[in-house]
């Protein structure tokens, strides 16, 4: 019955169609275009979000197991667990702080120095994108990605106070350090309206693509303050203080190299050409720095050590971090090579000259490499790689010295300078608070016994059991 009537209805409709067309066509086309736009947008969002979630996981992998192994191998075996715990526990501690208040302090729009409380308890951070930071991925993805940076930054400092800090003091120190140093610094450089934010209305536009200033200068300089405040380890410098397993450190360094692709290429916050460019620059920087450190060491002490090679790669990754989204592959080679040589001299000559016990060279690698990278970003940044910064007429603005904008170096120095000052002053105050409340350094007996037994009641290696 239905089937028989159908052709008649169709016929009538077809006859009416010409009359309807002129009136209906624009709406139908507009609907189609809108549907198409939505489909394209959702496809881009899917691609971007997939890459960003992978990047999140890669950056977390840098802390555990990457940094935990790298640092764990560099200490004596009686401190291997304690040192690994310094990294691992931050994956828990900073996460909770971040969820409650950290993300809001760092990324909510507030004043130029820290955010307000609009994202307290992650209120309003859901699947809708935040157009200020990343328009194609859920706001929640951006939040969890930035968390991974907040985790690794204080973990880097642990290289300076390794083998002699109380675990309880370390927890309090890190909590306060995240609140008073990291969140404000992240807000200044990356937060909307931040004092140094080049893209979102900063007074001194500092170029820091993936955290050279925010992550490496702050942690490296704070590390130096910690090393000076805590003093030297018992027996340093002496015959018995040697890395207990460079094999662990080697595996850790390789994981850092791989994880760093999430750190830098992920900082494009999209699966874009810029992400590829940052990926390439990151890799080239690490490679050139490995060779730079190795050659410097080979010439100076006669042998190319494996520890030198892996230290060089980390130094290069640090230095290329602020530059990664702004520089060409050839500039990345130069930045990396320079970082390898400069950081080698920092951890050998400079450290020996001043005699501070930066146990695992957190300052020599991250502080020095981060500062060098920040300055060289001002030299090599070019709008041929990153044209996100536009002038009023929509033309890409010159970025660094190679674009003819020498003044950027001054901006970079201001950014680095603020990170230095905040790192030094903040860390000193926090250490003093921790010392008064808990006491920062373990008792001498406990230090000799090792942190694994004295702080955690365990041993890392019980080979006879």
């Amino acid at each position: 019955m239905f089937g028989r009537r159908f052709p008649m209805t169709t016929l009538i409709l077809l006859m009416l169609l010409p009359a309807m067309l002129p009136a209906q066509a624009p709406t139908a086309t507009a609907d189609k275009i809108a549907a198409l736009e939505a489909a394209v947008k959702s496809a881009q969002s899917a691609g971007d979000n997939a890459w960003m979630l992978v990047s999140c996981a890669l950056v977390l992998m840098m802390t555990g197991p990457g940094l935990a192994l790298f640092y764990g191998g560099l200490v004596r075996k009686k401190n291997v667990l304690g040192t690994m715990m310094h990294s691992f526990i931050l994956m828990a501690l900073v996460t909770v702080i971040w969820a409650v208040v950290g993300y809001s302090l760092a990324f909510a729009e507030g004043n130029p120095f820290f955010g307000d409380f609009r994202y307290l308890f992650l209120n309003g951070v859901g699947s809708a994108p935040n157009g200020d930071y990343a328009g194609t991925i859920p706001h929640q993805t951006y939040m969890i990605y930035q968390l991974m940076f907040a985790i690794i930054t204080p973990a880097l400092i642990s290289g300076a106070f390794a083998e002699r800090i109380k675990f309880s003091a370390m927890l309090l120190f890190t909590t306060l350090w995240a609140l008073l140093v990291y969140f404000p610094m992240a807000h200044m450089v990356w937060g909307k309206g931040g004092y140094l934010n080049a893209f979102l209305g900063g007074t001194f536009p500092t170029l820091d693509f993936a955290g050279g200033t925010v992550v490496h200068i702050t942690s490296g300089v704070s590390a130096l303050v910690c090393a000076l405040y805590l003093g030297k380890r018992v027996g340093y410098p002496g015959e018995t203080i040697k890395p207990h397993s460079l094999v662990l450190s080697f595996i850790g360094a390789c994981l850092l190299w791989v994880g760093w692709f999430g750190f830098n290429a992920g900082s494009a916050v999209a699966a874009s050409g810029l992400a590829t460019s940052a990926f390439v620059a990151t890799h080239f920087g690490a490679a050139a720095a490995t060779l730079g450190w190795m050659l410097a060491e080979w010439m100076k002490s006669g042998k190319p050590s494996v520890l030198g090679g892996i230290s060089g790669c980390v130094a290069g990754l640090v230095a290329i971090t602020p530059a990664s989204g702004f520089v060409s592959p050839m500039s990345a080679l130069i930045i990396g090579f320079a970082a390898g040589i400069v950081c080698y001299l920092m951890v050998t000559s400079v450290k020996a000259k001043f005699g501070y016990d930066d146990a695992l060279d957190a300052f020599g690698v991250h502080g020095a490499g981060g500062t060098l990278g920040a300055i060289l970003t001002g030299v090599f940044a070019t709008n041929a790689v990153n044209d996100a910064l536009k002038d009023a007429s929509g033309k890409a603005m010159p970025l660094g010295l190679v674009d003819g904008n020498g003044g950027q170096i001054a901006n970079q120095l201001v950014g680095a300078g603020i990170a230095w000052v905040l790192g030094i002053v903040g860390t000193l105050i926090i250490l003093k608070i921790c010392d008064v409340l808990i006491g920062v350094r373990v008792e001498r007996d406990h230090e000799v016994q090792g942190l694994d037994l004295s702080q955690h009641g365990e041993e890392g290696y019980i080979l006879e059991s």
Partner: protein
């Protein structure tokens, strides 16, 4: 009185075909404990050499030490360390007096490279040996 550690005794000296020549007093012949500190990489050759003459019981320990051999330099991020206690392997075995010289010669030849650091061999009298499993005593416990 036992005069085992007589000065100027050289292995291979025809006067000392066995240690019994100089250590037997009355009816007592002492078993010999041979303690050798050798290069770790020579352990396999030493084991083979002893096995070849029918000696297969031994105890080995990983030890560190040095005699005249100087250590080596290690550099970690510019920090220099002089490592003078070097890894060695200590081989301990107890043999009958009659087989002591033969064992020592085999061990010594297998462990030798001719360079400083080859190690040393010390030989002791053993008062008694007891097999825990069945309470065998003396040479039959070896």
């Amino acid at each position: 009185m036992r005069l085992f550690a007589r000065r100027n005794l050289r292995l291979g000296d025809e006067r000392a075909e066995t240690f019994a020549d100089i250590t037997v007093k009355g009816d007592i012949t002492y078993m010999k404990k041979i303690e050798a500190v050798i290069q770790p990489f020579k352990l396999e050759e030493v084991k083979e050499a002893l096995k070849a003459i029918g000696i297969d019981g031994m105890t080995i320990t990983e030890v560190r030490g040095h005699g005249r051999q100087k250590g080596h330099k290690e550099v970690y991020r510019g920090q220099e360390y002089n490592v003078d206690l070097l890894p060695k392997v200590k081989v301990e075995l107890v043999v009958t007096d009659a087989r002591a010289v033969e064992s020592i010669n085999a061990l010594s030849a297998a462990a030798r490279t001719g360079k400083i650091g080859d190690g040393k061999i010390f030989v002791y009298d053993v008062a008694e040996a007891i097999r825990i499993r069945n309470d065998d005593r003396g040479e039959s416990a070896l």
